[in-house]
Symmetry: C2
Subunit: 183 residues, 2 copies
DNA sequence: GTCTATACCGGGATAGAC
DNA sequence: GTCTATCCCGGTATAGAC
């Protein structure tokens, strides 16, 4: 009824929070609509489908993750710190308003059928960013074994995220694992 | 029509395979019924609900994982090998008839709401087994830092499983990460 | 573009006979 | 305990007015 300003933005914000906290599959469209204060038809006019909304949400989230991570890298004092800055960035992201349950990209990949194009695109882009920047930052620390180290750190980062689903998991343990790997 | 022998077993087998490959949430009950060659009412007579079936499936799967892992530990030549045997066991499990997409327990935890009792019980039991045995096996290798090392290996194991959802993930990289951690 | 109201469908679960 | 047939709800998506 009330002509809300930028329904699109409100939808993206509401969906981002709910998807991050509950998981996309576990979040009914109605809940997004209620939180955004928007009517169903508006959602479909903008995004075409729930999947389309999810794609837009993940796209925006990847951009924010990119920015947050880059800032954490810039703030680090030395090469080793820059390589470990991914954990600072994870902490920063976790501190954000609604703490993600684990990882929106892994959630998309886990929740969708294996060949789902939206989920595949999202997890591929996220993984590519992680791999590329970790490899780049590993250069000064590991030299010609940068790619190898980056791959191992990718396992540790993914494991840190997955540990959010298990009892007793902590970001600190993930960081400690990465630090041990650098010795 | 045909009085199938042990419908219960057939249901468990069918569900285990389908849940492992596709994820539980992504698998309709109908598909389980079709594969098992069993009627809907039979499923509900035995397990009460899809959730009940899932609980039984995860219970059986944990028991098999326990056995497989223990056998891999026994087959290892030395203390270090026994600690890394968890990756041999993962390989053995992955080689099983229908290769799991990633991990049935993490899948249950990721697919259900955060406070779902069935998923919580499953992921808790799985995590407890991993933690306990890793700690025990880390003893001869790490002495009084066994708990710390076990916790880090738990991150690496979880990360190895999560990497199944990303492009370019491999069990070998997970094992290499764990080996690097032992140096 | 946005709203109200509704159509449509997939999926979990049940009724009742055998 | 097992079968056939069916119910019923939640959830996505659309129709049509404003």
């Amino acid at each position: 009824m009330t002509p809300r300003p930028d329904a699109r933005r409100r939808l993206l914000d509401a969906a981002d929070e709910l998807f991050a906290v509950q998981g996309c599959a576990a979040t009914p469209v109605d809940q997004v609509l209620t939180r955004a204060g928007v009517a169903p038809a508006t959602l479909y006019a903008h995004f075409g489908s729930k999947t389309g909304l999810q794609a837009a949400v993940l796209d925006a989230r990847l951009a924010r993750w990119d920015t947050t991570w880059a800032a954490a890298v810039d703030a680090a004092p030395d090469d080793r710190g820059r390589l470990l800055a991914v954990f600072d960035a994870l902490a920063e992201f976790a501190r954000g308003e609604a703490a993600s349950r684990w990882c929106a990209f892994l959630d998309a990949a886990a929740g969708a059928p294996a060949d789902d194009p939206t989920a595949t695109a999202a997890i591929t882009a996220d993984t590519a960013l992680l791999r590329a920047r970790l490899t780049e930052l590993a250069g000064p620390v590991a030299g010609d074994r940068a790619a190898e180290l980056a791959e191992q750190l990718l396992v540790v980062v993914s494991g840190t995220l997955a540990m959010h689903l298990r009892p007793g998991g902590s970001l600190a343990t993930g960081r400690a694992t990465a630090e041990a790997l650098l010795r």
